[in-house]
Symmetry: C2
Subunit: 284 residues, 2 copies
């Protein structure tokens, strides 16, 4: 069958009901479009584990802050459509904003505490917007499994907790970060970078590599690791650190001594572009 | 088949998946047990419109305030089981508190504004507890239709908005209030009343009747109607008004002049028991 593009919620729900009735397993990849290899790796994983892959493309206004890039976020549906088709997506769910938010939205899904630190500290209503739209998408697409990138690690942990707390009958699969050959984590926002900025942006993955080497060589104090990462990034003129944190990989609480599985995560502003990256490491 | 009692979330989800796969329509009646004719009317309506009726019995701790009656709320599972069976319920979903809340709950579903007035003003986290548990139950029971009583009118409006906002693929059916022959609205909490208190409690439905007569005879000022209701209730020694409001039946915003569909709702404390009642009326 050819790839379907569905824009209406009712039609998507009917399609999913039909697929489920046929006993088909539905894998769901929610995206904001502007697809890159990171998204394609989610699609590949979803294809391996399900009968049908549904991808949503929706730039969700309620997860952007008033000063953020909702208006300028890259949108190129025909390119996305081509990539999705080549990647083996069966259905693109592509609703308009008015379809998703036809009346004043009064209902919000909020995950507490896990959204307080890291990106949540700098993007106050961001995660509430994410969990609310993902809850909506789960009820619309009705998947058996859903695929999120490790690139947005905090988001994945928050969604995992939402799934557990609200008993969504959905398995969450977290797929590793995809990087360019020089180490830069893929992001739709990389398209904002000038050539110079792109070179500077390598400092994120470099600082994570440096952190790993320090930890591998026996350092266990988060403070020291973070301080060395900060030093490295300070050397990069176009870069400004928003945060660097080392936290428990499950609770996202800061850890002083690295002694189990930790997440090292950072946000850096390169010119006007905010980039994030992270690494999960386990030591004893 | 005999009536099934399911206590495990996973088992309930598997059962619902199976029923849906068989093409069966599932009607869902969420309750806190202590069943009375009001609940039975929900079950009857659900039987008429679906292939299978699932009723949940769960006294939900997170919808009770710290000073409220969570501990003393009436529980009598064997009586409920009998009534459910006689009423034609196919499945009772009867989870333990630890099954519903196995880890610290961090995710809440909240409906704003509609929960600010009426009961929401006096029970601050109540509706958040209701919407959160109902979202969980929807994800567990996966019904096609769900049945709520008009007795908890604000709750029904809040759930309706949650269903719309979060795109639950579920039809909400609101079933009229069931009253004793003397007019008292049925409530599990009526069991708290002494004989004297029960007699006093008639003042709720009487005051609504009086309001209707005033409006039928041409009165249009909410203030005057509310004032007359207050006077009536003040005459009842054991009764203390918590609120009397006349609001738009959809938005729940107070109205000064009664000129379309309105909700007249009140909460009255009789001795130590808080009772509510309401009436929906339409004038031009």
């Amino acid at each position: 069958m050819g790839m379907k593009i569905i824009t209406q919620i009712r039609q998507m729900q009917a399609e999913s009901n039909k697929l489920r009735h046929q006993g088909k397993k539905i894998g769901f990849v929610p995206t904001m479009g502007a697809l890159h290899e990171g998204h394609l790796s989610l699609i590949r994983q979803a294809r391996l584990e399900n009968d049908v892959v549904v991808m949503s493309i929706f730039v969700n206004p309620i997860q952007f802050g008033p000063e953020e890039d909702y208006q300028t976020y890259p949108r190129d549906f025909s390119r996305d459509e081509e990539l999705a088709k080549d990647g083996g997506v069966e259905i693109i769910f592509y609703p308009a904003v008015e379809e998703m938010y036809p009346q004043e939205l009064l209902t919000f899904v909020n995950v507490e505490r896990l959204t307080d630190g890291l990106c949540g500290k700098f993007r106050p209503d961001h995660f509430r917007g994410v969990t609310t739209v993902v809850a909506k998408l789960f009820n619309i697409v009705k998947p058996h499994r859903t695929y999120f990138g490790q690139k947005d690690y905090q988001q994945a942990v928050v969604i995992k907790h939402m799934i557990e707390d609200l008993n969504f009958d959905i398995e969450l699969v977290i797929v590793p970060i995809v990087r360019d050959s020089d180490g830069l984590a893929l992001s739709s926002r990389n398209t904002y970078l000038s050539q110079k900025e792109r070179a500077s942006a390598l400092v994120l993955s470099k600082s994570l590599q440096q952190a790993k080497e320090l930890l591998d060589s026996g350092e266990r104090h988060s403070k020291n690791v973070i301080s060395r990462m900060n030093d490295l990034i300070k050397g990069e003129k176009l870069a400004r650190v928003q945060y660097i944190e080392i936290v428990d990989s499950q609770t996202l609480e800061p850890v002083e001594i690295v002694e189990k599985e930790v997440l090292i995560a950072l946000a850096v502003i390169i010119g006007k572009t905010r980039l994030i990256d992270n690494m999960v490491l386990k030591y004893n």
